[in-house]
Amino acid sequence: MRMRVGLAAGAALALLLTGCAGEDRSADDGTITLRFQSLAWQQESVAANKQLVEEWNATHPRVRVEYVQGSWDSVHDQLVTSFEAGEAPDIVHDASDDLADFAYGGYLADLRGLLPARLTADIPAQSWETTTFGDGVYGVPFLQEPRVLIANKKILEASGVRIPTPEEPWSWEEFRRISEDLTRRPGPDRYGVAWPFRDPVSATLNLGLSAGGRMFQREADGKVRIEFTEADAVVPGTVHDQVNVDRSASRTALGGGGSDALPGFFAGRYAMVPLGFSYRQQIALQAPEGFEWIVLPAPAGRAGLAQGVSPQTLSVAEDSPHKKEAVAFIDFLLRPANMVRLAKGDWMLPTGRQALADPALRTTRDGWATGVALARHLRPAPAQSVRGYPEWKDKVATPALQEYYSGGIDRDELRRRLVEDGNLVLARYQRD
C-alpha cells in the first residue's frame, strides 16, 4: 500500500513537472514576431493598446506583434536584467527619465535614420530633447502630463477669487495669497492647498522651471554642477511658507502621495491639490456625487507656465534584429488618431501636434482643454539625463526637501545640502 502511494506521488510529481515545461516559441515560416512590452495599466489604456496591436496584426501578416504586459512598478529592474541577458522585448515602453542609463549603456537603438519624417515632424523639438542622450535619439516620447491644480469648484467660486486660465494664470505670489484666502473658511482643518509631497523632488524641479529655476547647470566641459539660485528657491520657498508661515497648506498632506490627499479634497478640507494631469481619472471615479472640480494651470513665474515633464516613451532594443519593423509599428501606434486613443486611455496629453489638435481633446470636460493649452509650455524635466541624478534624488534631495518643507531646516541648510552634498554625489559619476 505504502509503495503504491509512493509510486502515485512520484507519478503525480512527474506529471506536474512535465506540465511545467515550456513551449518552443520559434517559427520558421518567415513571419517576424516583435515583442511589444506595454506598461499600460488603466482599463481603457490596456484596451486601446491591445486593440491597436490587433489592428496592426490584421493588416501586417508578415510582421506579427505580440503584446506583453509589463508594470510601472518594476520596469527598471526587469529591463536591466532583460537587457543584460539579451532577452529584452523588441519594443520597450518606459518613461524618458528612466532611459539615460539604458541609452548610455548601449541597450537601446539609436532611432536617428529609422524614424519616419512624419513622426519626427509631428512631435515638437522640446519633446525629442527628453529622449536625446549624447548624439542619439533613444525613444519616441508620446504621452506626457503636466502638473495642474485640481480645485474644488464650489469653494473657489464662493470665495470670489479670480479663476486662473492658461492665458492668465496666477503668479506664485498670487497663488500664495489666494491659498491664504481659501484657508479662511468656516470649519476645522481647512486649508487652501495640500501638497502631496511624499516624493517631492521631481515635482519641485519640474514646477521650478516656471520661476526660471534650473538647479542643474551644464558647464563648458560638459560636466553638470548643482546650483541653488533665487529662481530655484521660488517654488520650495512658496511651499515652505505656505506650510510653516501662512498655515495655508496642510502639514499632514506633505507626507502622503496624491491618492492620499483625495479624501481630504473630496471632504472640502483642501480647496486645491497640485497633481499630475492623469489623476483626473481617479478623481472622476472616486468623487462623491455632486462634487464639482476644475482643472487650473499651475502658477506661473518669470518663465511663464514652463514646467518639466518626463514623457512616456517607446524605444527599440539594440539587440532586436528587426529594428526597422519595430519602428514601423511605433509609427503605426503613434498615428495622430491612435495617439489620441492612447492619450484618452491614460488620461494624459499626447506629444504629437496633430493629436493635440484633435477636437476630442479640446473639450472642457474633465479639464482636457486646460491640459492641451499647457502642452506648448512643457519642457524636458531638469536633470533627467544627468548621471547620478537618481542617487542625488534619493540620498540628498528627498530628505533635504522633506525636512525643509516640514520646517525642520532653513533655506541656507537646504541650499548647503542640495549643492554641497549633491555635487559630491555627481562628482563620483563625472570623473574623467
Binding site: 506536474l16 513537472l17 515545461a21 495599466w41 490596456v46 541577458a85 496624491g258
Partner: protein, 279 residues
C-alpha cells in the same frame, strides 16, 4: 509540578493575545474591507470597516481586466512543484547532515546558512544567463528550478533541526528489533519527521507562491505569468493604484496560503505531539 495561574493574570494573557491577533489581522481585514468597497467609499475621509454599499464590482473588474485564474493556476503549479522538489531533495540531505556529523556535514550546514546572506539582486543576472543557456528562460520549469535552489538552503537547515530532534536511540532500537536500514527509515523515522517535512513544504510553497521578482524577470510570455506579477498590473506610475480591484485580487491571492496553513497546521501540531509524548 503544575503552575496555577490566577484569573486576572489569565485574563491579561488572553487580552494580550487578542491584541496581538488584531495587530496581525489588521492589514488582512483592511484588505477584505477595501475589496468590497465601491470607488467613492475608497475616497472617503472617514473610511468605515464595513462598506456602506458592499459591492462585487472590484472582483468583476479584477477578473475582467486580468487573467487572474490562469495566473493563479500557474502560481499553484509552480509552488507545488517547487515545494515537492525542495522537500524531496532536502530531506535525505538533512538526514545525512544530521546523523553523520563529519566535516562535510558541518560545511554543508554552514554553507546553507551563509547562502541566505546573498541578496537576490546579485544572483538574478547570472541565474538568468544560466537558465538561458539551459533554454529554461520563459518556462515554468526554469522558475521551479530557481525556487527550489532559492528555498533549498533554508529547507535543509530547517529539516536538519527536525532530524536532530528525532532521537537516534529510536532507530537503534528498531535495528535491535530486526528492522533493516530502509524499514527503519520508512516505518520509524519518516512518521516522526512528517511534521518537519510538512512545515518545510509549507515554507517552500509560500515562498514560491509569493515570489515576485524572479517570476517577473524570467517569464516573458503573458500566459505563463504568475499571480504576484499579474497583481502589479493594477499599479500605475508614481505609486498610483487601482485600489479596489487590487485589493480584490490580493484578497483572492491570500486564500491558497490560508487554506494550506489551515490544513497543515493541524498535522504539524498533531505530528509534533505524537513524537513528543511517550505512550
Amino acid at each position: 509540578m503544575s503552575m496555577r495561574t490566577g484569573r486576572p493574570a489569565r485574563t491579561g494573557q488572553y487580552l494580550a493575545l487578542l491584541a496581538y491577533l488584531v495587530f496581525l489581522a489588521f492589514p488582512f481585514l483592511w484588505l477584505v474591507s477595501t475589496a468590497f468597497k465601491p470607488p467613492r467609499e475608497l475616497g472617503s475621509l472617514h473610511p468605515s470597516w464595513i462598506p456602506d454599499e458592499p459591492t462585487l464590482a472590484n472582483f468583476r473588474q479584477a477578473f475582467g481586466e486580468q487573467p487572474l485564474l490562469r495566473a493563479a493556476g500557474n502560481s499553484l503549479l509552480v509552488a507545488l512543484c517547487a515545494a515537492a522538489v525542495a522537500v524531496l531533495v532536502a530531506t535525505p540531505a538533512a538526514y545525512v547532515a544530521a546523523r553523520h556529523r563529519g566535516r562535510l556535514a558541518k560545511a554543508a550546514t554552514g554553507w546553507a546558512v551563509i547562502s541566505q546572506a546573498f541578496p537576490f539582486v546579485l544572483l538574478i543576472i547570472p541565474l538568468f544567463l544560466i537558465l538561458k543557456n539551459l533554454r529554461l528562460v520563459d518556462t515554468l520549469t526554469g522558475l521551479v528550478l530557481v525556487y527550489v535552489v532559492w528555498s533549498l538552503p533554508f529547507a535543509l537547515w530547517m529539516l536538519i533541526g527536525y532530524v536532530r530532534a528525532v532521537p537516534s536511540e529510536i532507530e537503534e532500537a528498531a535495528a535491535v528489533d530486526g528492522a533493516g536500514r530502509v524499514r527503519t527509515l520508512v516505518s520509524v523515522t519518516a512518521p516522526l519527521l512528517a511534521p518537519g517535512v510538512a512545515a518545510t513544504a509549507t515554507f517552500a510553497f509560500v515562498t514560491a507562491w509569493n515570489e515576485f521578482f524572479f517570476a517577473l524577470v524570467l517569464l516573458k510570455t503573458t500566459e505563463k505569468q504568475t499571480l504576484p506579477v499579474v497583481l502589479t498590473r493594477f499599479l500605475g506610475a508614481e505609486g498610483v493604484a487601482d485600489l479596489g480591484p487590487l485589493a480584490a485580487a490580493a484578497f483572492l491571492a491570500t486564500i491558497p496560503s490560508l487554506v494550506i496553513f489551515a490544513v497543515i497546521q493541524k498535522r504539524i501540531t498533531g505530528g509534533m505531539l505524537a513524537g513528543a509524548v511517550k505512550h
